[in-house]
């Protein structure tokens, strides 16, 4: 497969938006799905559907095998050591909630500290915030004017009370690629576990959890060209073994008595209730799709578009690009003096250009920047330089409409 022609693999691009081709620059929000993934969902429902893990009939066996094969594929893709370290969740949000709740219950007590950064998405802040109820303290490593979080910020804010460092792999506002390895090395030297919110990382860069040596890594499958309503939590076996279950229900138990309940081992322990069988099965196709393209090719393609995009936006004096991080991936957020991001998004949409406006679930960062909202164009594998050209033209139209 050649990335240049990849748009044809995504049915969504067949349609016109207001008579114009769709320029989809909202992949950081959720990515579009390739035909192979959509078809796998239909095929599964039409010929193979059954609940997994419980029945012994033919359909159940097939479904269970496919379900568990996806787990193996994910394990291999992110290079986890054990398949038991891969837990399917509803999304990255649920993955982080799971860790905050279950790890929190066992390992975070009154007076303990959790270190986040000012770049974090609400999904990597609110779940930790809940632990304040039991006396935990949340600290934030500050972001600088470029959108970087200096390693010294971590160094200074770590104390002997720090029980967790949780931060985003790639910022969904500034596109900052965090120096993950450096931060983890620092954390390890102090024996502090690390959770990486890989929601924006996984779709844009390769992941090797053993090499990173992170303790937890959260993924949103729907941003990786996979089905909606699915996420993944990678967790080191040593923690998962010691963590209590999260949701209670069918499947996650070992034995249930009136006076006592014992639980299954990971991953079953953390997968209560009927799982998203079709979604998990179809996600195997997303991984294959991804692997066929090659993560290196994806990275270099997206970086090319990104560089071109930043260059073009910079030519426009009215545009203020948010952040200037040492390393940036896939995301360009900006403001235009005199035009609110919502108005930008509405006007762009009239040209078929889909971007997002708002605080992108990063209010702390926006507060710090002194703005309430920004416009965000985010790049996926299907984007091209032409998309950027259309974006820039459309931005010029905003200025015309607003007579500035």
């Amino acid at each position: 497969m050649i990335i240049k022609d990849i748009k044809t693999e995504f049915p969504i691009f067949k349609q016109k938006i207001k008579g114009k081709p769709l320029v989809y620059l909202d992949s950081a929000n959720s990515s579009q799905k390739p035909k192979v993934v959509i078809d796998e969902i239909s095929k599964f429902y039409e010929t193979e559907f059954s609940n997994v893990g419980r029945s012994v009939h033919t359909l159940a066996v097939k479904a269970t095998n496919k379900f568990e094969e996806t787990r193996d594929k994910v394990k291999n893709y992110i290079n986890a050591k054990y398949r038991e370290e891969i837990i399917f969740t509803k999304g990255a949000t649920e993955a982080i909630n799971l860790v905050a709740t279950a790890f929190g219950e066992s390992f975070i007590n009154s007076g303990d500290e959790i270190l986040l950064t000012e770049l974090e998405h609400h999904s990597n802040y609110v779940p930790w915030h809940y632990l304040k109820k039991k006396g935990a303290i949340i600290k934030f490593a500050s972001v600088d004017e470029n959108g970087d979080v200096n390693i010294d910020e971590f160094r200074n804010k770590i104390s002997n009370k720090t029980k967790m460092i949780a931060f985003t792999h790639i910022s969904n506002v500034t596109g900052t690629v965090m120096p993950v390895k450096k931060i983890i090395d620092l954390a390890k030297s102090k024996n502090i576990p690390v959770l990486i919110d890989g929601t924006q990382g996984a779709p844009h860069t390769s992941i090797d959890v053993q090499d990173l040596d992170c303790d937890f890594y959260a993924i949103s499958c729907h941003k990786m060209y996979g089905p909606n309503g699915l996420g993944i939590l990678y967790g080191k076996k040593k923690w998962l073994d010691k963590m209590p279950p999260y949701q209670g229900g069918g499947g996650m138990i070992s034995e249930v008595k009136k006076d006592k309940i014992t639980y299954a081992d990971s991953p079953t322990k953390f997968e209560a209730g009927t799982m998203q069988t079709a979604e998990v099965v179809a996600f195997a196709k997303s991984i294959s799709f991804f692997k066929n393209l090659g993560i290196k090719n994806i990275e270099s393609h997206e970086n090319e578009i990104l560089e071109y995009g930043i260059e073009q936006l910079k030519k426009n004096n009215s545009i203020k690009i948010i952040g200037n991080p040492k390393k940036r991936a896939s995301i360009m957020s900006f403001t235009i003096e005199g035009i609110h991001p919502h108005d930008i998004a509405t006007i762009l949409d009239d040209d078929g250009v889909a971007i997002r406006a708002g605080h992108h679930c990063c209010q702390i960062l926006h507060d710090k920047l002194g703005i309430s909202a920004s416009a965000r164009a985010s790049i996926g594998i299907y984007n091209s330089k032409e998309d950027i050209d259309i974006l820039c033209e459309s931005i010029n139209k905003c200025k015309k409409v607003f007579e500035i």
Binding site: S372, A373, V401
Partner: protein, 147 residues
């Protein structure tokens, strides 16, 4: 072109030069609202005199052109009007955006009707309706709350 319907001259004028910004002096009622999805904020202040006339009406807020223009037009239209009439206007305005009805109140001048109706273009932009209605909902809740 729909976009021109949305961003009419009159709306851009109100958005760029909002009328009645700030806290009006001696306000007796106020209420605020906030749209967490986009960050739009509005705070309405009003002074109701003993005859139930709105003798002062102003707003503070930030947000998109639609939300600013809507708040500005609201204050401009209702300042000096009676409480009952103002409620009627607000209902009619919200109805216009919800059910695409027209505003035909005889308590408003033709000019005022034109101005207020300029926001009807928002009908075609469902995600922006909240931007246009927020100030009006806030006004209604301000009526219910004494400062």
């Amino acid at each position: 072109m729909e976009l021109k319907e949305l961003y009419q001259e009159i709306i851009l004028d109100h958005a760029k030069n909002p009328r009645n910004k700030g806290k009006c002096e001696g306000y007796s009622h106020d209420a605020k609202a906030h749209n967490p999805l986009c960050g739009d904020k509005v705070h309405i202040y009003l002074k109701l005199d003993s005859n139930k006339n709105i003798s002062g009406l102003s707003f503070e807020g930030e947000g998109c052109a639609i939300s600013l223009a809507s708040a500005s037009i609201l204050t401009d239209t209702l300042k000096g009007k009676n409480l009952q009439i103002s409620k009627k206007v607000a209902d009619d305005f919200l109805n216009m955006l919800k059910n695409k009805t027209k505003i035909t109140l005889n308590s408003l001048s033709e000019d005022q009707i034109t101005t207020i109706s300029s926001l009807s273009g928002v009908q075609e932009f469902p995600m922006r309706i909240k931007c246009a209605t927020m100030a009006w909902h806030t006004l209604l809740s301000a009526f219910d709350k004494k400062n």
